[in-house]
């Protein structure tokens, strides 16, 4: 996967008027750059506008507040995550349902480590304080559906134990989400765990603990 990056301006095309082809996307890219470089607390509308090369009044058309900006980042992030998960499954079309579950779990951690700023922003608690916008709910639901439907198929095939599929999905999600969060927040690398590579640990973890999903 490729890191999100921003091209400030078109190189030789009418530099005088800053009318972007897609200012909204430019602002989203700029926001992720800011978060990646200076952390979540550094994200302001003014900084975002400045980095995107527009005046501080310009973002108003697209994002009424920083919370709206966060929501857009989260929605975009869930879409990217969903695409990444689906790509990973598509590459292994011969995999069994149990293997697909493992692939999803590892891919989730991969995504978080490859896009730490995006991942942090997606789960930033500022979003949770207010009621989550509907657009974010929808995007998150679609992404989570991949996991739920895989589990349901596994139940039909008899390789996953009975139970309410969304609950089992939450268990599987919690496991890899915890590892992803601890990795992104540097809680792991700072300590004395043997595996310097969190992905290696993710594979072992998924392999061992997803036993809890079997009949």
């Amino acid at each position: 996967m490729q890191p999100t990056s921003s091209k400030k301006q078109s190189p030789n095309h009418k530099n005088k008027s800053y009318h972007h082809g897609n200012l909204r996307q430019a602002l989203l890219d700029a926001a992720l750059d800011i978060i990646a470089e200076n952390g979540l607390s550094a994200l302001t509308l003014r900084q975002t506008a400045s980095r995107a090369g527009v005046s501080h009044a310009a973002p108003k058309r697209h994002f009424a507040s920083v919370l709206d900006l966060y929501a857009a980042i989260a929605e975009d992030g869930y879409c990217k995550l969903r695409n990444y998960l689906q790509e990973r499954i598509a590459k292994r079309s011969d995999a069994s349902l149990s293997q697909v579950l493992a692939i999803l779990g590892v891919a989730y951690v991969e995504f978080a480590i490859a896009n730490p700023a995006l991942f942090r922003a997606m789960f930033h608690s500022a979003l949770a304080d207010r009621s989550t916008p509907h657009s974010v709910e929808v995007a998150a639901g679609k992404t989570l559906d991949i996991l739920v439907s895989t589990i349901e198929q596994g139940q039909e095939a008899g390789v996953i134990r009975k139970g309410y599929a969304p609950d089992l999905a939450l268990c599987a999600w919690s496991l890899v989400h915890g590892l992803a969060v601890l990795s992104v927040d540097r809680q792991i690398s700072n300590r004395r765990f043997s595996s310097e590579d969190p992905l290696k640990l993710a594979r072992e973890l998924v392999e061992q603990f997803y036993l809890g999903l079997r009949p």
Copy 2:
């Protein structure tokens, strides 16, 4: 467990001079109140001082910056978490090592849900952006040691599979940390999961998935 709360001033004792018996603790309590009410982004030194009833210059003696304040909250939080985990184990002195592991896992989620503001602050990514202060590392290490030593004892007793204990501890930690984070961030209650009570889910989750720790 009792929520952290702050007593602003002594009721009838020399109200003119705001010399607290323990300003540092009063500031920590005020900070948690602010986070609980208005979120992490609302925490500033000035607001903290104001809520503690002192001038905005007063905190300087105790916390040079907001990051120092966060570090102190995190250090305090790890100590509280450790005490809570040990209390929970002490109440069930007859439990087997496998049961102790399950108790620790559920208690971790309980702590997060009972102290959401503290839990969020402990893992606030602002801490992770900078190198974690040594005092926080020490407090976190002591807390994590409860889990590691339990696993080591379980390995000696033959009820936990072989392997580098800190790695196994990280697996167990990731599982409950993921559920705790998703609960605190309201990612669970908003969706279609059946269990309205995250603690009920935590018990099932720990019971099923800690199977991955068995030989």
